[in-house]
Symmetry: C2
């Protein structure tokens, strides 16, 4: 099977870590061991990943010294995180695959993702990026006209526009690597968001959700499975209530309804179940699971599978 | 012919520019128009580029706020610049090729370059990065233990280790793109420097010279020509003297001798003539020329060609 593996933020940097190079390498090392176990089952891999803390770091640095270095636009920062994280993942994954007895080349393709300039996401910034803020820190940002929102895990975070991904620009390159037996890392951080302007592409200030981009990637490479790895084992219905339910399966219809009702919050589980629904509609399987249970999730015995219906 | 085009710093950011996104895009736009003219001659392209100002910017930002965000190591910064510049170049080059009537996919491969951990470059930092410094600024850096050196163009700049490039790690990926008719952008900023540590690769704090890396890339993809584009039309012998000579040809022997004697200074023209010598020894042609005369340089009627002998 061809499997698109989408690594959540936690697979790249543990919650609570400050974001040092060594912390990133340690998290990625562990994630790559998990990915290598999938490969040993005989599956062909495509890897994608989030970039929330990393892109937030670059935004923070830009803001801190606008007089000494020119500020970059957000599209450039996303591209920078693709370079940084792609480099670390390809370095670690190559070794993990070799140790698993499956030596393969791994390479990152810098990837643009086309979005619609009229996407409502540009009016309503919703994607959390960067470090968690105190109420006071959040208030300061607000005063400077920078949007913030309460974070799913408590506290506040900056939010940026998160338009819908429509198309992977570097689809040919990803397919070229796959057809040569190379493991591509692509659409990192949801891809660099660009809009079409005649025959040109133009970067925009946004961060595309990496799971939604992974669903587009799944269709683009005609993958059999979209495997979204995160820090929980299952999608939960009625989270925190007495009758909360760990779901083994979730239908496309219930996934979409849960996103509309807010049961699966945007900026958290909402995009994952939506990405799963889209992947299933495009003819793939889609599973949300923890890194630890990745191989079981592929076998259908762990995680939450989004199913037709 | 298969041509490796190495874009100098000036093709990515004009001398004197502050480094805004728009300045970078304008310079890259012009460079890509030049590259597209090469493609219209029927040549197959591989693109590589420098990253001096861009990597310097990231180092400067890291230094400015060590308490708020963890400092990254230099290998990560190089990888970040590959993402950033690769993104901008692939975006502009795609359009330039389409306008030239040669629609092609263009994709950046995040590229590691193996160096030797015992390279003398680690003892003697020599590669200038980042903005030009005043004598006072340079003295401040010295006091903090950060190496600086007088720059070729006047003023001072930070210098970092610049070990010899030995091998392109992602050679398979670059070849896979080429064999599918895709234009690869690879080894940007000289590649992310890594050393071999058993079966692992490990990033090191250095910046590999992009022309020397381009020579390795030339051999790796068995290119017919290494074309180094810079802001001068010719290599000059006896620069500034009454009898200074614009060279049409330079033998491998004279190139190497000029590097040893200091006639072709390291950190400036030295690496270019050395890269040219190595490319010629590997069986390719090598030409140093200005962006404006790139096609004439390929035809042998402009620039300085390094020749056997």
């Amino acid at each position: 099977m061809r499997v698109v593996v989408a690594l959540g933020g936690n697979a790249i940097l543990k919650r609570g870590d400050r974001g040092t190079v060594n912390e990133q390498i340690a998290a990625i090392h562990e994630a790559c061991a998990g990915i290598a176990r999938i490969a040993t089952e005989g599956h062909e891999l495509v890897v994608t990943h989030g970039n929330g803390p990393q892109v937030g770091r670059l935004m923070l640095q830009d803001e801190a010294m606008p007089d000494r270095v020119p500020r970059f636009s957000l599209d450039l920062h996303v591209a920078e995180t693709q370079g940084q994280l792609g480099y670390l993942i390809q370095q670690e994954l190559t070794v993990a695959l070799a140790r698993a007895g499956l030596p393969r080349s791994v390479a990152t393709v810098v990837t643009q993702v086309v979005v619609d300039g009229n996407d409502p996401g540009f009016e309503h910034p919703s994607k959390p990026v960067g470090p968690f803020l105190s109420a006071k820190g959040a208030a300061e940002y607000r005063l400077r006209g920078i949007p913030v929102a309460e974070a799913a895990g408590g506290g506040w975070r900056r939010v940026v526009a998160s338009p819908e991904p429509l198309e992977i620009v570097e689809a040919d390159a990803v397919r070229a690597l796959l057809s040569d037996g190379i493991v591509p890392i692509a659409a990192g951080g949801g891809g660099v968001p660009v809009i079409r302007d005649g025959e040109e592409l133009r970067g925009v200030a946004a961060v595309v959700d990496k799971d939604l981009a992974a669903a587009v990637l799944t269709a683009t490479v005609a993958a059999d499975v979209l495997l979204m790895l995160t820090d929980v084992d299952h999608v939960v219905r009625g989270f925190g209530a007495d009758d909360e339910q760990l779901l083994d399966k979730l239908t496309v219809r219930d996934a979409r309804a849960g996103v509309v009702s807010g049961e699966f919050a945007r900026g958290s589980m909402g995009e994952k179940v939506l990405a799963g629904a889209r992947a299933v509609e495009a003819g793939a399987r889609a599973v949300i699971a923890s890194l630890e249970h990745a191989t079981e999730a592929l076998a259908g015995t762990a995680g939450t599978e989004i199913v037709a219906g």
